[in-house]
């Protein structure tokens, strides 16, 4: 049976009334969970996993897949509307999505995010359908040196994320990486950087604590300073004409969408990488490739499109090693994998031959989930805009409350709320001096992936850094990363020579 016939069989399963209902419900629930600060797709899938025992296994995985998709779409909503990334996958969307909302272009940003998510998700599903087994084999050749090289490339793209002040940008990256290393040493298990033996540091610093502190509290304090406490009402509006105009304008971003989709998909496949590095790298590369890099961070639509296309493509990519090899590519797919095992389905190469109805029904449901998530998202845009039109003196305390609750929920520890407050206040004071804070947030997310990869690589090579250049994939990625690092340093050298 060829792929097309299998896919058509899958569509017949996905469009059964119960499964279709589960797709629509899952997308809607996922959208709202993803939009809440502090909650992401992993929370949605984990919380609703017990509900899936009420339906057959195929319906269950279709439902969880739809929640996953919905939450990936929803993550952009709080990033754009409130400036608080709902999950790590939506951090990069905040950089340009929030400035667009502040300029009265929230509808445009939301449509761009939804459309890019749709394109990214669709490209991801098509690649998933056509190239699942060979891509899984390529992903398996990625060991610790390749993963570290990839992380280094992501950090190299961060250099271009901040202001032109390179020392401040590098400082921001380093401090994020150090905060990411707080907790227990991954190899020896010994406590590390436990300031004053405070128990809350033993579980490390959750990235959301830093992200909400910086993008929630510091951002609000900054906005209050700019408005000088006046009653400020956003000029955001929405109409069918504006939506159509925005869609027309989006056709100009097709290159960015495709770049984000392919990059995100491939990074998503890599075990333990997931959607976050993909979205961050897509943002960095989009800025590097742009003719107007200075407009990024100030409301450039490509800055919304690149990470959103990448994170949705990556969310599909992360399902590939889960389904074909039984290796989850992200925390959410780890829970999906757990669900499959509970339902008596053994993930791995044989699942395609042993349970074709299940696999192809699931793949077809991803196509449908993409369409429904887009439609639900666009249908709710007027409601999201309505929230933005509230006077700032009402919106501000509600955002502060959401920040505090969102900072508490991931770890259920008040220590993290206090830490978030400190990060918010210090972040505000640093922002006034043009310290770019985005790289710190990105580094705290990627640090816990980069450190074990580096240590494992050096252990394999007996301490020699040549391991990063002697392996083909790692070598190529390393060279690209070093070139990206060198570019801004050359810029500094050039300016010093001119002076």
């Amino acid at each position: 049976m060829d792929i097309l016939s299998l896919l058509l069989t899958g569509f017949a399963i996905a469009f059964e009334p119960l499964n279709l209902g589960l797709i629509v419900f899952g997308c809607a629930v996922g959208l709202f969970i993803g939009a809440m600060p502090g909650l992401g797709s992993v929370n949605g899938v984990a919380i609703l996993l017990p509900m899936t025992f009420l339906v057959p296994p195929t319906g269950a995985i279709i439902f969880l897949g739809a929640i996953y998709y919905g939450a990936m779409y929803g993550g952009a909503i709080s990033s754009i509307m409130l400036g608080i990334p709902g999950a790590s996958t939506a951090v990069a969307t905040t950089f340009d999505g929030r400035p667009m909302a502040l300029k009265g272009e929230a509808d445009k940003a939301l449509i761009a995010a939804a459309t890019a998510s749709f394109i990214g998700g669709s490209v991801g599903v098509v690649l998933f359908t056509l190239f699942a087994p060979p891509l899984a084999d390529v992903a398996l050749t990625f060991g610790a040196p390749e993963i570290f090289a990839l992380m280094l490339m992501a950090f190299a793209t961060f250099i271009g994320l901040g202001s032109d002040d390179i020392p401040k940008t590098i400082f921001s990256i380093f401090i994020g990486l150090v905060f990411g290393s707080v907790g227990l040493d991954i190899i020896s298990g010994e406590p590390r950087l436990i300031f004053g033996d405070i128990p809350g540091f033993f579980h490390g610093i959750n990235f959301l604590v830093l992200a909400i502190g910086i993008y929630g509290i510091a951002e609000m304090l900054w906005t209050i300073e700019v408005s000088q406490g006046d009653v400020m009402i956003s000029q955001a509006t929405v109409s069918v004409r504006r939506i159509l105009n925005s869609l027309r304008e989006l056709t100009r971003t097709w290159k960015t969408m495709l770049m984000g989709s392919f990059l995100g998909y491939f990074v998503g496949i890599l075990p333990a990488a997931g959607a976050t590095p993909g979205s961050l790298m897509a943002y960095g590369i989009s800025k590097t490739m742009s003719k107007k890099p200075e407009t990024y961070g100030k409301g450039n639509i490509n800055g919304v499109v690149a990470p959103e296309a990448a994170n949705n493509a990556a969310s599909t990519g992360a399902m590939l090693p889960m389904l074909t090899l039984g290796i989850p590519g992200s925390p959410t797919t780890a829970i999906l994998l757990g669900g499959m095992v509970i339902w008596g389905l053994e993930p791995g190469p044989m699942v395609f031959t042993d349970h074709p109805d299940f696999v192809w029904g699931f793949i077809a449901s991803l196509y449908a989930a993409n369409v429904f998530a887009l439609l639900i998202n666009i249908a709710f845009i007027p409601a999201f805009i309505w929230v933005l039109k509230m006077p700032f003196t009402i919106l501000a305390p509600i955002i502060f409350v959401l920040c505090v609750v969102g900072g508490f929920v991931p770890t259920l520890d008040m220590h993290d709320v206090w830490l978030m407050l400190i990060f918010g206040i210090v972040g505000y004071l640093m922002r006034k001096l043009d310290y770019p804070m985005a790289p710190a947030v990105l580094a705290i997310v990627l640090g816990p992936l980069a450190e074990p990869a580096l240590r494992q690589s050096l252990l394999i090579s007996g301490g020699s850094f040549s391991i990063f250049f002697s392996r083909p994939f790692a070598g190529v990625i390393m060279v690209i990363a070093l070139v990206l690092f060198a570019l801004p340093l050359l810029k500094i050298a050039k300016s010093l020579i001119r002076r």
Binding site: R192, V405, F408, M414
Partner: protein, 165 residues
């Protein structure tokens, strides 16, 4: 602004040194059969932070950044008052979480902010102060089963939970 740029560079430099010292509590060199010690990663990153701070101070001395050339005040009186009121109200709310729990602290914060900082009517203030905790409770505690701190109000929730479960 110029002095603030220097002060921030120096404070962050001192913080980097502190992080280096804390990191060195674990081995920072190579351990046979184990690879780099547990403190190596944060130690060398903190050293990198320190180098960046030195670069920031040198650039300040050479007036190479807009902040190091600026003669504007870092925070004028009105901005400072707004900062203190907002940051203070937020700190107060987080502190009250320990005593009155989320469902006591959130309405108190909203009343203070909406009525006294925002100058909104008592009707609007009361509506938000009443509705926000209810929505928060239903969404987080009932739908998502995420327990928020309750402080001394904890016993009041027993009948509510027994109603739902």
């Amino acid at each position: 602004m110029r002095m603030a740029e220097l002060a921030m560079g120096v404070v962050m430099g001192v913080f980097s040194l502190y992080l280096m010292w804390k990191s060195a509590e674990l081995p920072i060199g190579w351990i046979p059969d184990e690879g780099p010690g547990g403190g190596a990663w944060p130690f060398w990153l903190s050293a990198g932070m320190l180098l960046c701070c030195i670069a920031i101070v040198i650039r300040w001395a050479k007036r190479m950044t807009p902040e190091s050339r600026s003669e504007d005040v870092y925070m004028d009186g009105r901005t400072f008052k707004l900062f203190l009121l907002n940051a203070g109200a937020l700190t107060g709310m987080v502190g009250l979480f320990h005593i009155f729990g989320a469902y006591g602290a959130i309405p108190l914060f909203l009343i203070f902010y909406l009525r006294f900082l925002g100058g909104h009517s008592w009707r609007l203030t009361g509506t938000f102060a009443a509705v926000t905790p209810v929505v928060t409770f239903l969404f987080f505690e009932i739908a998502l089963q995420k327990t928020l701190p309750k402080g001394i109000t904890d016993p009041w929730f027993e009948p509510i939970f027994s109603f739902f479960y």
